[in-house]
Amino acid sequence: MRDVVITGIGLVSSAGEGLEAHLTALARGGAPNTDAATFEPFPVHPVGALEWDRQIPKKSDQRQMEAWQKLGCYAAGLALDAAGAKEDAALKARMQLIVSAGGGERDYAVDGQVLTGLAKADNPGVFLNERLMGDLRPTLFLAQLSNLLAGNISIVHGVTGASRTFMGEESSGVDALRIARERIASGQDDIFLVGGAYNAERPDVLLIYEMGGFLWKKPYRPVWERPADGGGMILGSGACFLVLESREHAASRGAKPVAALAGVASDRSRRKAGSVEASLHALSRQLNARPDLVISGATGIKGITEDEQAALKDVAPGAAVHATGDLVGHTMEAQPATGVALAAGLIAEGRAGEALVTSIGHWRGEGAIRLTKA
């Protein structure tokens, strides 16, 4: 089996742009950028203003995308830059792409108008048809389709080996890394761009998680402190992409590895009391993890957050523990890659020797990722 290394990181979130900015924010500590007003009573961690032109040069491309796709495309460009791959068209033409994604934004004004009209319509079905036929922008569909983040990355950045889009919230982010790593390790492919993007500043996603009772509705508090007060997650906008390749491939093109992706493990426990704790123990054993650093994807949701904390005491005794939720918020499909990016950055700075990144899905799915020095 071949070693798999990380050679490029592209990261954007409420903590800023680029790995450097995130490591600085992590070192500084304190509360992350939070917007408590726009979707009150739901705080979100908003992404800062980005100069889209720097990674998505054509305005026509920008117009075809909604925020989640633009965030993803932007972070993908940063990762390609960092890996020294941006200007190598031949390399990008054989680079494989795995994106973890949900779906895109809706037209909230149209939805509101349709709902208002539906209540009074004589024939609601016909009214719905007429309004949707008349009011939906034809291109909005392409901003909603899950696989069109990958499609846009292919168009904007020329990454055209082949793309696959995984869905399924947090798990999709872990499994995207797992499958990419296995394909490289087994020799099937040499180089991948892997990651995800999430826009939290949308009422339709808040709606889904509020229906399930998962959202934190008070001023920001660190994820570990939330369960004692009922628990809940704060969604964050952001995106993270990683360039992964075999050690030999990186060496052959003179790319410097940031860290090694030593293992990715995922599972789907049937959730019950204690199942998350047991699952993390099993995943950690599977990875043979001995971390001195943990980057946790803990959500702050009651039950699973304490379960994770208990497991970490055993599987990572003495390790420094940081939560991505306390830096950028919960970025759902993008959370696992974001954790890996931070862990890789800290390892590259010499602040850790081996890291464990966790991803305990807010509702299902458990994942753990082991990183070591490059």
Binding site: G125, S154, H157, I208, G212
Partner: protein, 426 residues
């Protein structure tokens, strides 16, 4: 001796297949209708169609779910197809010894649910998402969180069949079903799993999804004669017809399949894929990505173009796809293409979108098993720009050892699979 392919990898056998389409529940019903040249396309009566440009589809109306919505119907279609496939394989129905790869349509909350939230909010003026959020906070809609997140269909299928590990839900648009199979093949070849349950499912014909395709001018508007609307490769083709379907394949390491005495229905010999950065909905004018995907699939299968006996086309009936597909196949198969049978199942069941690649994989294996090639129906006006043997209107008997199945999708997705009765040289 271990069963390996020409590259030394484990051979991937198919030991179970199942499907449900607008033509029938189960592979035998669907196959009988498909080889009889019957269409499953009909007028939509699931919802009012006044005001729509397209009023026909290949919906599956015989399957009832509650609440009626795309994820529930997609889940049911996946379950039905998988029950048939796992049943045929002889593997345990509730303790499947391998991973799950499932192509599911992107889900989101639908209009009946939004309306229910709006009503529950008590807002009788202008409704906004603030009102919906207020209603959501009552806790009365808790199950809809699970229903409308992306991992749920896979989770429920994994629970039902007891598949191992974290199930993978995926989308590569209209080639999703083929990608699910490809992921299974790769996992078996890597030795990660002895078996894989690969599923494509799509039950998403609802007003908004139909309107979205309609606004992109992708759908046929020839509503007068629903059964005649899907006309792949014909000169008067004018778009695809949405269809619903589910299909499942049980893939196994051929060694373990043989060791347990399973009947091997055929092999997935090769997979090929290539991205396209030309445009969001159109493919590169030179056809290079599709050509590359076909060539990769042949090479991966260890066969040459001359070995292929039949092509199960993507064949959507859109002006763009059929022209591009014909050109790409001609580039790979050369002069032989004029006489190489290529037909489109979509002429009868419509475009089952996320499920299409899996449904057509099942039909490709049925073609190998029965020696009968399903026709392209509604072929009355040949397109002089597409001089192919599309097996017009009537099924044909032929010895078929190797099939190429094409899948192409929005977002630059091109995925091709090669199925065989036996590996080459066996």
């Amino acid at each position: 001796m271990a069963l390996r392919d020409t590259q030394g990898r484990p051979l991937v056998a198919v030991t179970g297949i199942g499907t449900v389409t607008s033509l029938g529940q189960g592979k035998d019903d669907t196959w009988a209708a498909l080889t009889a040249g019957r269409s499953g396309i009909h007028r939509i009566n699931r919802f009012p169609t006044e005001g729509l440009r397209t009023t026909i589809a290949g919906t599956i109306d015989s399957v009832d779910v509650e609440p009626f919505c795309a994820p529930m119907l997609s889940e049911r279609l996946a379950m039905l197809a998988a029950e048939e496939a796992v049943g045929q394989s002889g593997l345990a129905q509730e303790d499947f010894p391998g991973a799950l790869f499932i192509a599911v349509p992107p889900v989101e909350m639908e209009w009946p649910q939004r309306e229910a939230l709006a009503k529950a909010s008590g807002q009788d003026g202008d409704v906004t998402y603030k009102d919906l959020l207020k209603a959501a906070g009552t806790g009365r809609f808790r199950p809809w969180h699970d229903l409308f997140i992306f991992g749920t269909v896979a989770d429920r299928v994994a629970d039902r069949f007891g598949t191992r590990g974290s199930p993978i839900s995926l989308s590569t648009a209209c080639s999703s079903g083929a990608t699910a199979i490809q992921l299974g093949v790769e996992a078996i070849r890597r030795g990660e799993t002895e078996a894989a349950l690969c599923i494509g499912t799509d039950g998403s014909v609802n007003p908004e999804s139909l309107i979205r395709f309609s606004l992109l001018s992708a759908l046929s508007t020839q509503n007068e004669n629903p059964e005649g609307a899907s006309k792949p490769f014909s000169k008067n083709r004018d778009g695809f017809v949405m269809g619903e379907g589910g299909a499942a394949l049980v893939l196994e390491n051929a060694d373990s399949a043989r060791a347990r005495g399973a009947t091997i229905l055929g092999y997935v010999l090769g997979c090929g894929e290539k991205g396209d950065g030309f445009h969001r909905t159109r493919s590169s004018p030179d056809g290079m990505p599709a050509i590359t995907a076909i060539r990769q699939a042949l090479e991966d299968a260890g066969v040459v173009p001359e070995d292929i006996d039949y092509i199960n086309a993507h064949g959507t009936s859109t002006p763009e796809n059929d022209k591009m597909e014909a050109m790409s196949c001609t580039a790979v198969f050369g002069e032989r293409m004029a006489g190489l049978p290529i037909s489109s199942n979509k002429s009868m069941i419509g475009h089952t979108l996320t499920a299409a690649g899996a449904v057509e994989a099942v039909m490709s294996l049925m073609t190998i098993a029965t020696g009968r090639i399903p026709p392209t129906i509604n072929y009355q006006v040949p397109d002089p720009a597409i001089p192919l043997d599309v097996v017009p209107n009537v099924a044909r008997d032929a010895r078929v050892n190797y099939v190429l199945s094409n899948s192409f999708g929005f977002g630059g997705q091109n995925t091709c699979l090669v199925f065989g009765a036996e590996p080459k040289g066996a």
